[in-house]
Symmetry: C2
C-alpha cells in the first residue's frame, strides 16, 4: 500500500548521470583511474583530476568568524548579499527598472521558486528541447508541465520559428506563460543566444503578450565560464522598460562561480518596470523561502559579501576564476577542433561546462564508447561531454572515439 499522497507516490528519479558515473567507477576499479576518461562529472576538476577550489575563496571563507557560519540569516537573505548579487548578475548592464533579489538554495532553489510561483498549476512552462533535466522534475513537483521548443534549426542556429510557434500555441490555451532560457553557457550544449537571437525572442514576447502575462526566467548558472563579464551580460540591458505584464527573473548560483557547489547558495533576481510587480515578487518568494527552507546558508552569503567588499581580494579571486575558465575553455577547444577534423557533428559550443553531440540512440553510442573506457552522459537527444572535469590530456582523442562509436552503428 502506498503511504505517500496520490500526487507523489509514483515519483522516482531516473538518474542518467549517476548511472554513467557508476559505470565509470566500475571500469576504474578494473582498469585503474588513469585508464578511464570520466566525462560525466559536472564540476571543475583540475588537470590532476581533483576538485578545483579557488584559493582566494577558501582564504576568505576560512577567515569568517564562526558567528557568521552559525547564525540564522534573514528569510530573504542578508541585505548586503542580495545587493551584491544584483551587482554581480548585471555588472555594467543593469537594465532600467525595479529590482529585488532573494537568497535561495543554489540555482535549483531559485528555479524552484520561479516555477512554483510564476506558472499556474496544471499549465505548461516552456523551455528548449535541450534542457537541464531538473526543469522537468521541478515542474512535476510543483504541479506544472514542461513543454519544449526546438533549440536549433537545421543549420544548428537558434530556432526562433519553433520558439514563436510554441509561444503562440501555449498562449492559445493559457493566460500566462513562464519561459525558461538557460544562456549563456547552456547546459548541456554550451550554446548562447546572440544579441540578435535575444532581440528576436523579446520581439516575439512583446508582440504576443497582449493582455496576457509572460514571465521569463534566465538561468545563468554557468555565466562566469562563458567569456568576458560585460560581453556575456550585454543582453541584460534589453530588459529595460518592458511592459508591466512581461516579468524577467534571473537565477544566480554560487556553485560554479565560486567553486562552492556544496554550500547551496544562490538567488532569484526579479526585474520589472513596475514597483508593484517587484513588491509581489518579494512577498511571494519570501513566503516560499519560509515554507521550504526557512533561510539560506549564512556562511556562503557572508563569503560573497566579504569578497565583494574587499577590492584587492576580489581582483585576485576574479583572476583565479579567469584561469579556471580558460582551463575549461581550452579542453572544450581541443574537443571541438578534433571533432571538426574527424567530421563529428556537435552542437554550437560557446562556453560553459558541457558540449553535446546529437544522436538518435545516445545510450547505444555511450555503451559503445565504454569499450574505449570513455564515459559520457546519454541524454534524450544526444550525448553530453563534460569539458569541466576531463583533463586536456584525456579529452584529446575523445572526439575521434565518439566518431568511431557512431561509425560502428552505420550500415
Amino acid at each position: 500500500m502506498p503511504m505517500a499522497a496520490t500526487h507523489s507516490s509514483n515519483r522516482k528519479l531516473h538518474d542518467a548521470i549517476f548511472e554513467a558515473s557508476k559505470a565509470c567507477q566500475d571500469a576504474a576499479a578494473i582498469h585503474g583511474a588513469d585508464a578511464v576518461t570520466n566525462a560525466t562529472i559536472g564540476v571543475v576538476l583540475n588537470e590532476e583530476g581533483n576538485l578545483a577550489v579557488l584559493p582566494t575563496m577558501e582564504k576568505v571563507y576560512r577567515s569568517l568568524p564562526m558567528s557568521e557560519l552559525s547564525a540564522y540569516a534573514p528569510i530573504t537573505g542578508l541585505p548586503d548579499y542580495t545587493n551584491a548579487v544584483i551587482d554581480l548578475v548585471f555588472a555594467d548592464n543593469k537594465p532600467d527598472g525595479y529590482f529585488a533579489a532573494l537568497a535561495t538554495a543554489g540555482g535549483t532553489g531559485a528555479i524552484h521558486h520561479a516555477i512554483a510561483n510564476y506558472a499556474e498549476r496544471g499549465e505548461n512552462v516552456l523551455t528548449s528541447d535541450w534542457f537541464w533535466g531538473n526543469y522537468n522534475i521541478i515542474c512535476n513537483e510543483t504541479g506544472k508541465n514542461l513543454s519544449t521548443f526546438k533549440l536549433f534549426d537545421e543549420e544548428q542556429k537558434f530556432n526562433i520559428a519553433d520558439f514563436t510557434n510554441k509561444v503562440d500555441e501555449l498562449l492559445k490555451k493559457q493566460n500566462s506563460l513562464l519561459i525558461i532560457l538557460n544562456t549563456p553557457a547552456h547546459n548541456p550544449t554550451g550554446f548562447a543566444l546572440s544579441e540578435n537571437d535575444w532581440d528576436q525572442v523579446l520581439d516575439v514576447i512583446k508582440s504576443r503578450v497582449a493582455n496576457k502575462k509572460i514571465s521569463l526566467l534566465v538561468d545563468i548558472a554557468y555565466i562566469d565560464f562563458a567569456g568576458e563579464k560585460n560581453a556575456t551580460r550585454k543582453f541584460m540591458k534589453k530588459f529595460s522598460n518592458l511592459p508591466e505584464n512581461i516579468f524577467v527573473m534571473i537565477s544566480f548560483s554560487m556553485s560554479k562561480s565560486y567553486t562552492l557547489y556544496g554550500q547551496r547558495t544562490g538567488a532569484l533576481v526579479g526585474v520589472s518596470s513596475s514597483k508593484a510587480v517587484i513588491d509581489e515578487f518579494v512577498d511571494v518568494n519570501k513566503y516560499s523561502n519560509r515554507a521550504t527552507w526557512s533561510n539560506i546558508n549564512r556562511g556562503a552569503q557572508a563569503l560573497l559579501i566579504a569578497l565583494s567588499k574587499d577590492q584587492a581580494a576580489k581582483k585576485i579571486f576574479e583572476n583565479e576564476r579567469e584561469e579556471l575558465y580558460k582551463m575549461v575553455q581550452n579542453r572544450a577547444d581541443i574537443f571541438v577542433n578534433e571533432a571538426e577534423k574527424c567530421g563529428l557533428n556537435h552542437l554550437p559550443y560557446k562556453g560553459g561546462f558541457f558540449i553535446s553531440v546529437p544522436a538518435d540512440d545516445p545510450v547505444a553510442i555511450c555503451n559503445e564508447l565504454h569499450k574505449e573506457l570513455v564515459f559520457a552522459v546519454p541524454l534524450k537527444l544526444g550525448i553530453r561531454i563534460a569539458a569541466c572535469s576531463v583533463s586536456s590530456k584525456k579529452i584529446s582523442g575523445v572526439a575521434d572515439k565518439l566518431k568511431a562509436a557512431f561509425n560502428h552503428f552505420k550500415n
Copy 2:
C-alpha cells in the same frame, strides 16, 4: 496587475517575531542594550548576550578539508550522515522496523517534504492549537490546510479527548491524515507528551486507522534541550511494529543541537514495518530534494560525520551541549518559579527554548510589557518567552512584570 500565479499572488508573511524584535531594537537604541530584555530571539545566547557556539563543533568544523565544504553531496545526503542521523535520532530507543533518512534543508525542509508528500492537496493536516506558525505557511505553500486540536485540557494536561475528536472528524472526510506532533520541548510551550500521553495517542491512531492511512510526523527540533538523551527518546520505541498503514516520520535538525542554525542542515527519518513504505519514502523525498534544492550543505553533513566518528571529540561536544542545556533550563526555572510565586499562569514547561503564557489579547499584554522594556512574541493564544536567549540575570523579574501587565487590564 499581479504577475504571480493565482495560488501564490496573495501570499505575504506576517512575521510577529520580526516585529517584536524590531520594537526591541528600537527601544535598545534609545535606552541602551543593557536596559532592554529581548525575549523574542529563538537561538541560544550566552549570559553575555552573544550567540553561543559549541567550541568542539567549531574546532571540528574548522578542521574540515575545503573539498568537504565545496563539493556537492549526493541528492539524499552523504550515507555516513544519514546513518549517523538515524543513530542520533533514536539513541538506544530504535524501534523494530525499517528505516531511512534523507538530508533536508534544516528541520523546515524535513517538515516541508512530509507535508508536501504525505497529505493530499486540498485536504487537512492536524497539529495542536499551540504550534510553530511555519506549519501553516508550509501547508499553504503546498496546497494543504492546517487543522488543530486543543493541546491542553482545562487542567493544562494533554487533551487526548480533543485529539481524538479531531482525528475522527478529519477521517470522516479524508482517506488519509498527516498528524504533526512537536515533542519533547514543544515550540512555543516547552511541553512534552508523557509516556502515557504517547500510549493514548498511538491507541487512538491504531483504533481509528482501519483501512485508511495515517502518517505521523514528530518534530524533535529541540530534543537535545529537553533532558537526558534516552529519557527524552523513550517514546520512540513505541513505533515498533505498527500496522503498514501507520507511517512515522521524524524531523531532525542540526540548528539547535549543533548551534549551527545558519547552515540549514537537517533530515527526515522514516520508520515503518513495511520495506515498501520505506522504499517509497526514499523515492518520493529524493525526488522532492532534487526539485527543491538539489542537495544539502555537505560541510555540515561532514561535521556531523566527523563528530560521530571521533568518540573523544563527541564526548567533549556532548558535555558542552549539556552545559548549554543546563543554562537554558536554569533560566526557564527562574521564570517558572517566579511565575508560581506571583500567581502568573503559564503552560507546563518541560524543556526547550520557549515558555508560553496564555492570554486573551497577547498583543495588548506585549505592548504593556514594552513599557517595562521587556519584549516577547505575541502569538494567537498567548505570549512566547525565549528562555534560550535571555540571561538568567535579565529573566529574573520578567514573570512579575508580565503578571503586572495582565493586572493592568483587569477590572
